[in-house]
């Protein structure tokens, strides 16, 4: 006969033992470890060096051709902005045609055919900032999609399912960076996807390949040996509109407070 005291003692030990081993099996299931590891292996990120950009717009030209965005429509997946800050503290910014043809005029484009002259000696600082989809970790555009047509792929890139998109435009309104637009031909939401078809074939995105000055780079933040990941994790880089909490994954070197 077993005493009540003994029974409780042994039962407690057995229960503890069973639950412990069950817990460790749960953690160590090879399939689960594999899944976790693979999940961690790839997260696309982008790095823009604004010091290197000269505003030639060859990235925009390449992007439009590669991704079949009608060339003369005034929409583009990536664009370059020019910022000129004069000595009186005023900001002058433009991006004619998204800089598809570069910046070939010292005058600032005000739209509607109007331009603004700026004297070289009045310039305090001036530079170019390429923009593209930030492939946010918390993409607001995905949250608002009512039909599940836009989503975040396992590697972090936000994609749009053209066959599922109903064209309601919520995502276009939700993006704080203004990177989304309607595709003039497909009439569905359109955005940069880091040239998903190219990065999955070991090629660089069209804009990265086209850039003669190495101002644009793509990398995998989860690979500790990736040169781009190294720069992002060890050097001083900035992101756009951090106050929105979207966790953008396009990082900038040489970002200025005037850049929005």
């Amino acid at each position: 006969m077993i005493s009540r005291r003994d029974f409780i003692k042994k039962a407690t030990i057995a229960a503890a033992g069973v639950s412990f081993s069950a817990a460790s099996i749960e953690i160590l299931t090879p399939a689960r470890v594999h899944a976790l590891k693979n999940d961690k292996a790839l997260r696309w990120v982008f790095l823009v060096d604004t010091y290197k950009c000269v505003g030639c717009g060859l990235c925009v030209k390449a992007c439009k051709n590669e991704n079949e965005i009608p060339y003369d429509a005034n929409v583009t997946r990536t664009w370059v902005e020019r910022y000129v800050i004069t000595k009186d503290g005023k900001l002058h910014a433009d991006s004619p045609k998204g800089a598809r043809d570069g910046f070939t005029d010292p005058r600032i484009d005000l739209g509607m055919g109007r331009t603004e002259d700026i004297k070289t000696e009045d310039i305090k600082k001036a530079f170019f900032v390429p923009k593209l989809c930030n492939q946010c970790e918390n993409p607001p555009c995905v949250q608002v999609c009512p039909v599940g047509a836009t989503y975040q792929a396992p590697d972090g890139v936000v994609l749009v399912d053209r066959s599922w998109c109903i064209g309601c435009g919520y995502c276009i309104m939700a993006c704080p960076y203004g990177v989304r637009f309607f595709h003039p031909k497909h009439h569905t939401a359109e955005k940069c996807n880091f040239c998903y078809h190219r990065i999955n074939k070991d090629m660089k995105p069209a804009c990265v390949q086209a850039c003669p000055f190495d101002a644009r780079k793509i990398g995998n933040i989860k690979d500790p040996d990736d040169p781009v990941a190294k720069i992002i994790t060890t050097e001083r880089v900035g992101i756009l509109k951090s106050e929105y909490g979207t966790k953008p994954q396009v990082f900038y070197i040489g970002l200025d407070e005037e850049v929005r």
Binding site: V54, G55, Q152
Partner: protein, 157 residues
Amino acid sequence: MKNHVLRPLLVVLGLVALVLLIRPFYVPKDFGVHERGYMYGWYRQGNIEDWKKVTVKYQGSESCKDCHPDKIETLSQSPHAIIQCENCHGPALEHPSAPEKLPIDRTRGQCLRCHTKLSYPTSARAGLKGIDPGSHNPDTECVSCHNPHKPSLEGLK
């Protein structure tokens, strides 16, 4: 008697039943909640493959090496070596099968992208050799005087 309540109710119930009947046929099998949960991962999985299948248009300067070695050679020794061939000749696509020839962009605009003088402090643009397009031989193609593959100033007055 109570038809004005029952009739619309039956219509609504009928509609609900219809939607439920059609749903399994209309919604693709791979549509559902994936890795990142309902908020970010609710989608049709097949779409990822759709995007991967988009055709590549820009092949890169490496791909021109076998057939235009002379051009690669000349360009590689010039300050324009950093520029991809396809930036000036357009996407190669399946060239030379389709298209047989790539276009040649001889417009001034193509060169002015980099060579319009913009004296911008804090930008690499200021470091490029710049001209004023309004006064530097206007109305003449740049390439009638400058070799785009080897833009040396030697020999020019």
